[in-house]
Amino acid sequence: MSKDFNAIVSEYGPLLSRIASSYEANQHLQQELLQEISLAVWQSLKAFKGNSSLKTYILRVAHNKAVTHVAYHAKQPSSERYCEIESPHSTIATSATNGAFTDRRPSPESDLAKQHKVNLLLQAVRQLPVQSRQIVTMSMEGLGYQEIAEVCGISSTNVGVILNRAKKSLTEIINHE
């Protein structure tokens, strides 16, 4: 395995995990999707020619993989109850802001409130149609209209329309609670 890929995993791992969580609520399937996405990114790295930023390229690969995964698992029975992987809320794990992993301390009240908002946002994002979901997550990951348009293969005007509509509905859900 090349050093490049290890560096990419440590830099973009949190981003890939957030993409996976926008497609899968089930922890087990989320982990599976994250692995599938990472493998697809690894395979596709040799084809990267620098025509776009690496982040845009990785997001394109990740979303394409996630679309296939969701279509495949669409009618599989839900196995949340039998999930062996612990939820990130109960693991030691890791919380990441802007790509850096940091230790998570046991949650005080403010953390619980924050977690509640995060869960609300995730649930709302997962209910969006696939295209809106892709556009809104890429925007929240810091991509501009033009970059999102290149990934999705639609015009940037169209991106703007879909993004505004999606963000409005997400904001309403968050503020309503």
Binding site: Q43, R60, Y72, S95, K117, V118, L121
Partner: protein
């Protein structure tokens, strides 16, 4: 960026994340490559088995059997290249790096081709016994092969046809239904509908 947008981005970035299991990725990568090599090897063996028979057992085959095996080889070659042609959409196309719209079109096309491939293989299950029956008929009435030898070969062919062909048909039928279901699910989820 409005305040609401900033809040959404901030909440989004605060979510817990799972670490990528690099060791498991290595294992998956290795398994995937081995599987690809195995498929290529099996495809190659299927095509090459016929001329190999001609090469290794030329004296044990009558002229009629040689011609018959040659016809089978020709048929296998046509079938092999037809399948290759059906797979052309996935060959040489980097689906992961395409734009989402192109990617979705390609995935749909590949599902459709997989349905066709399964159907073609089902048809093959009907044609294969005809080859054997044809061989037996020609050999029997044409008097090309000794009676005892013909009975022995006919028994082997009968067992192969009775056991292998229904299993193969069932497997292909399941694949055909599976890809039909996947296509329907994919079309219902596709953002381009």
């Amino acid at each position: 960026m409005s305040n609401d947008d900033f809040n959404l981005d901030k909440i989004w970035q605060q979510q817990d994340v799972t670490k990528v299991n690099v060791q498991s990725l290595k294992r998956q990568w290795w398994l995937m490559r081995m599987k690809q090599y195995l498929y290529i090897m099996l495809d190659g063996l299927a095509v090459m088995s016929v001329p190999l028979v001609l090469w290794f057992f030329p004296k044990e085959l009558s002229t009629f059997e040689g011609v018959w095996i040659g016809v089978v080889f020709l048929f296998v070659c046509i079938w092999f290249f037809y399948l290759l042609w059906l797979r052309r959409f996935s060959l040489g196309f980097n689906s992961e790096t395409a734009t989402t719209s192109d990617f979705i079109q390609r995935v749909k096309l590949q599902y459709q081709q997989n349905i066709k491939i399964a159907y073609v293989n089902k048809v093959l299950c009907y044609i294969t016994p005809m080859f054997f029956v044809g061989y037996a008929a020609f050999a029997f009435w044409g008097d090309f092969v000794e009676q005892q030898e013909l009975v022995r070969k006919a028994k082997v062919m009968l067992i192969l046809n009775i056991v292998c062909m229904p299993l193969m048909w069932l497997w292909m039928h399941k694949r055909q239904l599976k890809f039909k279901r996947l296509l329907e699910e994919f079309e219902s989820q596709s953002p381009l509908n």
